[in-house]
């Protein structure tokens, strides 16, 4: 039930998210060199490979080209990345995952992100594909400076620094909200699958043990019968 509830509000977030990204997907804005990584996870485990997959993707990116700035949402990602990338942490958010994120939560994260200088923000999260699959995805969001340096933006009317800044703030909050809701969906479905597997394994174990129990019980009875019958025979 939780899964479906998360998905339907997730769908609203999806429309807003895809709508919010439209400026970046319909235009080529070159990503700057100075990247800030925003990792989206949660505090809760028991969700299969969701958090470790994310950690692996970020570590791989770090190995390819060292990351200097990260903001972490959720204790799980923090724990996974602490040892190798702890010195890059600019901020971490916790108390994530007990209930679905609100837009206010996304605003808080977006505000923190925008308070740091960066050419591009790479949002890393688990994209929800379907109930049995998700994939760690990186969404690059160019900063205002990167956008202003690109000709593509001047095809749009009414563009000035003030408008762009306001636009960027609200758009980033929407995209962050979308990413967090997708992450929640991915986690929930991974949790469902993990629980289902665990239940099935437990069921198989119960069947196997029941058979072993019955065999043992019957063997004991048989042995007692043999002892009694041999004893009776010996008395004759």
């Amino acid at each position: 039930k939780n899964h479906h509830r998360g998905r339907s509000s997730g769908i609203n977030a999806e429309y807003g998210g895809t709508g919010a990204e439209s400026l970046y997907t319909k235009n080529e804005f070159e990503s700057g060199e100075d990247k800030l990584i925003l990792a989206i996870s949660s505090d809760r485990g028991l969700c299969g490979g969701v958090h470790s997959g994310l950690g692996k993707a970020i570590k791989a990116a770090h190995a390819e080209k060292p990351i200097t700035k990260t903001i972490i949402v959720g204790d799980k990602a923090k724990a996974i990345l602490q040892r190798t990338m702890g010195d890059t942490f600019l901020a971490t958010f916790n108390n994530v995952g007990k209930k679905p994120a609100s837009f206010t939560d996304a605003i808080n994260v977006a505000e923190e992100v925008l308070s740091h200088e960066a050419d591009t923000v790479d949002i890393v999260y688990n994209k929800f594909i379907n109930v049995v699959s998700y994939d760690s995805t990186t969404k690059p969001i160019p900063g205002v400076a990167s956008i202003e340096a690109n000709d593509a933006i001047y095809n749009y009317d009414e563009v000035d620094s003030e408008v762009l800044k306001c636009y960027q703030e609200f758009t980033l909050a929407n995209i962050v909200y979308h990413s967090i809701r997708e992450q929640e969906c991915s986690e929930q479905s991974a949790r469902m699958n993990a629980m289902e597997n665990a239940t099935r394994n437990a069921g198989e174990m119960i069947d196997k043990l029941t058979l072993a129990y019955n065999r043992t019980r019957q063997a004991v009875i048989t042995r007692e019968l043999i002892e009694i019958i041999s004893g009776a025979n010996a008395l004759e």
Partner: protein
């Protein structure tokens, strides 16, 4: 309401010529974080309240980025009926391919606005503005006043 005329820009003109024929509708995505009212739905016209003025959007509008003010977004659907929604704030993006995304922070149907409640809230927010001390408090109170003024205007 003022209709924007297509800006005379050579590059934009060429793109316009190569663009698809002027259909009578364009795809509109109109949503907030908690509700998605239109998802790439074909509509004829959308009027939005922005910081650069209240303007109407028709197919093949010049690409634009706009910030929304508290006010009414008026949508003329493909069928021809007009739907009005009050928005608190947000952004509007019009692309060269005629797709329009309006992302609002809060949306409500104009019919759902309780005039009395809005007026009472406006009075309360005005006194809050008067008694606010820090810059942040003043700004927050001003935002409240703006939103409630907008609501009272349409209630």
């Amino acid at each position: 309401m003022a209709f924007r005329t297509i800006a005379v820009r050579t590059a934009a003109l060429c793109r316009r010529a190569m663009a698809t024929e002027a259909g009578s509708t364009f795809p509109l995505t109109f949503s907030s974080p908690t509700s998605a009212l239109f998802n790439e739905a074909a509509v004829k016209q959308v009027d939005i309240p922005s910081t650069t003025g209240h303007f109407g959007i028709l197919p093949n509008h010049v690409p634009t980025i706009a910030i929304l003010l508290p006010g009414v977004v008026s949508i003329t659907t493909e069928a021809g009926d007009i739907q009005k929604f009050f928005v608190s704030s947000g952004t509007a993006t019009i692309h060269a391919d005629s797709t329009v995304q309006i992302l609002a922070e809060e949306i409500c149907d104009v019919a759902d606005i309780d005039g009395n409640a809005a007026r009472a809230a406006l009075e309360a927010s005005k006194s809050k503005l008067a008694s606010a001390s820090s810059e942040a408090d003043k700004a927050a109170a001003q935002i409240e006043v703006d939103v409630y003024e907008g609501m009272v205007a349409v209630a």
